[in-house]
Amino acid sequence: MIFIDLVVCLLAIVSAVWAIIARNLVSAVVLAGVVSLAVSYLFLRLAAPDVAMTEAAIGAGLSTVIFLIAVRRTEEEEKR
């Protein structure tokens, strides 16, 4: 069981660092979604299922869509 926890921690750390240094903004949004997924599992592992459910709803559903809309709007502003 500790092996899975270490793998998910590695996933969260690598995805967070790669989201910062990624050149493409859409790739950064995808990597932020992966960080949300890994953190949701870690909340579940720390015996907090309500926090994990909120993180799943916000991170998977809302945050990715809002970030993509923001990227789209700022691209249109930059082209002018």
Binding site: V7, V34, T64, V71
Partner: protein
């Protein structure tokens, strides 16, 4: 006792799948590849949560996997729409 062993083997195999998806996520050349890796990671993590529920014997953990399964397609769908013609 045998079911415990089967659960341990399944969890280790899920960890190997997470490592392979992480490789594709880091090395992916375009955002569409990373979106597919995100979908694969979601599909691996959902049975991981259910296995954690079996391991600890708490039924509330299944609900989290259910909520994630219902909501995870939304992010991949919006990324696909963005790659096609914008949100």
């Amino acid at each position: 006792m045998a079911s415990r062993l089967i659960l341990e083997v399944a969890l280790v195999l899920a960890g190997a799948g997470i490592l392979l998806s992480l490789w594709r996520l880091v090395r992916g050349p375009c955002p569409a590849t990373r979106a597919v890796a995100l979908d694969t990671l979601t599909l691996i993590t959902m049975p991981l949560m259910v296995g954690l529920a079996v391991w600890t014997g708490r039924g509330i953990y299944v609900d989290v996997a259910l909520v994630y399964g219902v909501l995870s397609f939304l992010g991949v769908l919006s990324i696909a729409r963005y790659c096609d013609r914008g949100v």
